[in-house]
Amino acid sequence: MHSFGYRLNGLLTFAVTILALMCAITSLSDNFNTPSPSAEIKIMNINWFQKQPQGHDEVSLTMNVSADLQSLFTWNTKQVFIFVAAEYETRKNSLNQVSLWDAIIPAKEHAKFWIHTSNKYRFVDQTGKMSADKIVLTGYSLPEEYR
């Protein structure tokens, strides 16, 4: 009853149980937190709207992104992935989402930022054709965080 094997077994089981309990409490504590993030995007300039060599229309834009996401960081937050995507509908598709820029925020200290950047990824539609009269910035939604 008091051999080394039994004691080691008991100790390990206890340690794993405590670890599991701490993980569960961390996840549950997330429900008490109501995040209040804020973000703003301003398109500064449409750099070009042109045909690529293989014939697809491409748009390039420069934008200012400023955000304060500090309230999103809790015990349960691993990283915050933030991205800017163009969301639009076309004749054939009810929804298109094309990611233009993204970044990973690993910690709370980096969560308040302002960046002036051109789009990281090329903005080309699936069909290769784009036309626009004007570009309207409508509501944005912020991505989830993963445990």
């Binding site: 991205f83 004749r91 598709n93 009810s94 929804l95 990611s99 990973i104 699936q126 989830e144 993963y146």
Partner: protein, 152 residues
């Protein structure tokens, strides 16, 4: 008795999460700094539409599934089927070159689940057992020995 209860738990997990492979090991560093090689991911699949920003695991007929993030979604109006493009967080380029049989887009049917939870380092056991199969045999042999010689 132990084996059957392990099997029941595994099959139960498959049912609950709706994914054929509810737990996967991260095999490459393409999703760093968030997910490193050796982490395990818990997946969950339902009929919610795939949207940009989600981390998905897909297998379009390759040896091992890939865990990457969705960066483009083109969902059709009439049948709600979606063409998807993915990219690893740490990769410079999207996954178009990786898709099998020169598909330009990933179809929704290849997606096995969305990542909803993670445990660090636990996957290293699987990676070691795959790279050096002798360790797998030693482990199985030791477990078998323990079962035989224990008195309960």
């Amino acid at each position: 008795m132990v084996i059957s209860s392990a099997l029941i738990i595994w099959k139960g997990l498959i049912c609950i999460t709706g994914s054929e492979s509810p737990v996967v090991v991260v095999l490459s560093g393409s999703m760093e700094p968030g997910f490193k090689r050796g982490d395990i991911l818990f997946l969950y699949m339902n009929r919610d539409p795939i949207r940009a920003g989600q981390i998905v695991v897909f297998n379009d007929g390759r040896d091992v599934p890939i865990v990457h993030r969705v960066i483009e979604v083109h969902e059709q109006r009439d049948n709600k089927e979606a063409d998807i493009l993915t990219k690893g967080d740490a990769n410079l380029y999207d996954d178009r070159m990786l898709y099998t049989s020169s598909n330009r887009w990933l179809q929704q049917k290849y997606i096995m689940g969305r990542a909803v939870g993670f445990l660090p380092y636990v996957g290293w056991l699987t990676i070691i057992m795959t790279d050096k199969p002798i360790i797998k045999y030693i482990l199985l042999g030791a477990l078998g020995l323990l079962v035989i010689i224990s008195k309960e």
